[in-house]
């Protein structure tokens, strides 16, 4: 198999080939490392590449598989971690100057679980500084580029992970999502990003942005791959106090099921009020395709959701400012301008402001719970627009000018407030060649239902098979 065929594999396909020993983990890993070497000077998707570790892990995987000690679908799979997941003995920067030399002495729970599943760690990916933004225009480790169109942002904050998957620099990655940081870059880079139910993946060892909004989760080429990674990292660890102990149904049993009888809600308020017309057209077409797959599509109204972004940002920035307070007072010059100013501003929030935001959040959460009595999932655009040019904080959208941060998180933040699962799956391309994302959002712990809809749609639409054309330097 040629190198570009290897780097274009999905996790599930590569797993079958590895298990059957038709390919080796070493050749798969070498192909990924060579592609990183060739492309990452331009893309800036990685902060740290762990080539020696990766090859050692790959050799071990090959030995184990040869002996029949197959560990499961991630065994021998080369993947990456957003550089916010603690890695024992490997620096974990959070994309910041503050933590540029931080080397953890323990692994994050998710890091350890991937290692136990036999995965191969290619490296740590670039992100918006401290995961506090949507551009991944990182002042300390370089501006990450969108593989579909250089000069455009990959989204964020998990932009390096998304760019890496889209460009074939590894088969999967873990991102984190506080207001949309898995799904926004997934949408902008044409990959699948799943934010699990809050507490399903332990946050232990993921450097915090906002305790009550942070989620860790998979970023992959397909929904089936996302399910495989989720199954490897989900479940309580006895250390994250917010972890939930529910067991998900097996992806193998759920993902292939038809959508007959499934009720899909399409919001009639807020979600389509501010949206690029091309993106709306692609999303409406995707909804039509889901209906053809057997689902019934029903309009739903979600009262109070208009306050979601304000609630999310007050909660997120207040919690983040609390975490950062000592550094803000003693090392303010070590922050990039945008993140530093946001965190400094958040030091002024009053306790009463935070509580008001949390009560607004409770109201929105109740609204969604009511909606999910009548439908199994709701679908919408992931982001109201596609990737924007690097360096632009505001962009035109229809007849208005919008903040890239605000519009980027406008729809994704809702599932962070409610803690419910939501997945972004590619739903087509604009005339400019940029991908758009369809978001599928379900009730708490319905992660496999969300991934089932994502899987059925992507199988029918075929968008995930498209890859960006990149010329190695």
């Amino acid at each position: 198999m040629r190198a570009e065929e290897l780097t274009g594999l999905t996790v599930t396909r590569a797993a079958r080939l590895l298990r059957a020993r038709k390919i080796s983990a070493v050749e798969l890993t070498r192909a990924a490392l060579e592609r990183i070497q060739a492309l990452d000077g331009t893309l800036k998707a990685f902060i740290t590449v762990t080539a020696d570790l990766a090859l050692a892990q790959a050799r071990r995987a090959d030995r184990e598989i040869a002996k029949g000690a197959y560990r499961g679908p991630l065994h021998g799979i080369p993947l990456s971690l957003k550089d916010i997941y603690s890695t024992k003995g490997i620096r974990t920067t959070a994309g910041s100057r503050i933590l540029a030399d931080f080397v953890p002495d323990t692994d994050a729970t998710a890091t350890a679980r991937l290692a136990a599943a036999g995965a191969v760690l290619l490296g740590k990916t670039n992100l918006h500084e401290f995961a506090a933004g949507v551009t991944t225009d990182n002042p300390h480790f370089g501006t990450c580029q969108n593989p579909w169109k250089l000069g455009y942002i990959p989204g964020g904050s998990s932009g390096g992970s998304a760019a890496a998957i889209a460009a074939g620099l590894g088969l999967a990655s873990l991102g984190s999502d506080t207001g949309g940081s898995i799904r926004i870059p997934a949408s902008f880079c044409g990959i699948v990003g799943h934010k699990p139910t809050y507490g399903l993946v332990p946050r232990t060892g993921i450097l915090p942005e906002s305790w009550s909004l942070d989620h860790g989760g998979p970023m992959t080429r397909t929904a089936a791959d996302a399910a495989a990674v989720l199954e490897a990292i989900a479940g309580p660890d006895g250390r994250d106090p917010s972890a939930v102990s529910a067991r998900l149904p097996s992806a193998r049993r759920v993902l292939g099921k038809a959508l007959d009888g499934l009720r899909v809600g399409v919001p009639v308020n807020y979600y389509f009020d501010v949206v690029d017309s091309e993106v709306e057209g692609l999303v409406r077409a995707a909804i039509g395709q889901i209906r053809k797959l057997g689902a019934s599509v029903v309009p739903v109204k979600i009262p109070g959701v208009e306050a979601a972004l304000d609630s999310c940002f007050v909660v997120a920035w207040a919690e983040a400012a609390h975490y950062h307070r000592q550094w803000l007072l003693t090392r303010p010059q070590d922050y990039g301008v945008d993140v530093g100013n946001l965190l400094k501003g958040a030091l002024l929030y009053l306790a009463t402001d935070y509580l008001q935001a949390q009560r607004v959040r409770a109201r929105i959460r109740r609204s969604l719970q009511e909606v999910f009595r009548g439908v199994d999932v709701i679908v919408s655009p992931t982001t109201p627009l596609t990737a924007t040019p690097i360096g632009r904080l505001e962009v035109p959208l229809n007849t208005r000018t919008v903040s890239v941060l605000d519009v980027g998180a406008r729809l994704t933040c809702i599932a962070n407030l409610t803690g419910e699962p939501a997945c972004s799956v590619p739903c087509g391309f604009t005339r400019a060649g940029l991908p758009a994302g369809l978001m599928i959002h379900g009730p708490a712990l319905a992660d496999m239902t969300v991934l089932r809809v994502s899987h059925a749609y992507e199988e029918a639409s075929g968008w995930t098979a498209r890859t960006p054309q990149l010329d190695p330097q």
């Binding site: 529910a246 998900l248 501003g345 008001q356 935001a357 712990l445």
Partner: protein, 64 residues
């Protein structure tokens, strides 16, 4: 009654000192950030939350 006059750089400098930040950022930059944050909070206080308590996330129900 809420004071709706904009936050000036002088007020921003005072607020920055109050929050412990000292002179760590240009007052004009901070004034713009503080103003956006103040407007966000004002919008939140306009939402009726009478029937809703602060219920920290506790996902419930059965996995589907």
């Amino acid at each position: 009654m809420i004071d709706s006059s904009p936050i000036t750089p002088e007020i921003a400098a005072m607020l920055a000192r109050w929050s412990g930040l000292g002179e760590s950022a240009p007052a004009a930059e901070l004034a713009a950030v503080f103003e956006v944050f103040r407007q966000r909070v004002e919008r939140l206080y306009a939402v009726d939350v009478e029937r809703f308590e602060f219920d920290f996330l506790q996902p419930d129900g059965r996995a589907r």
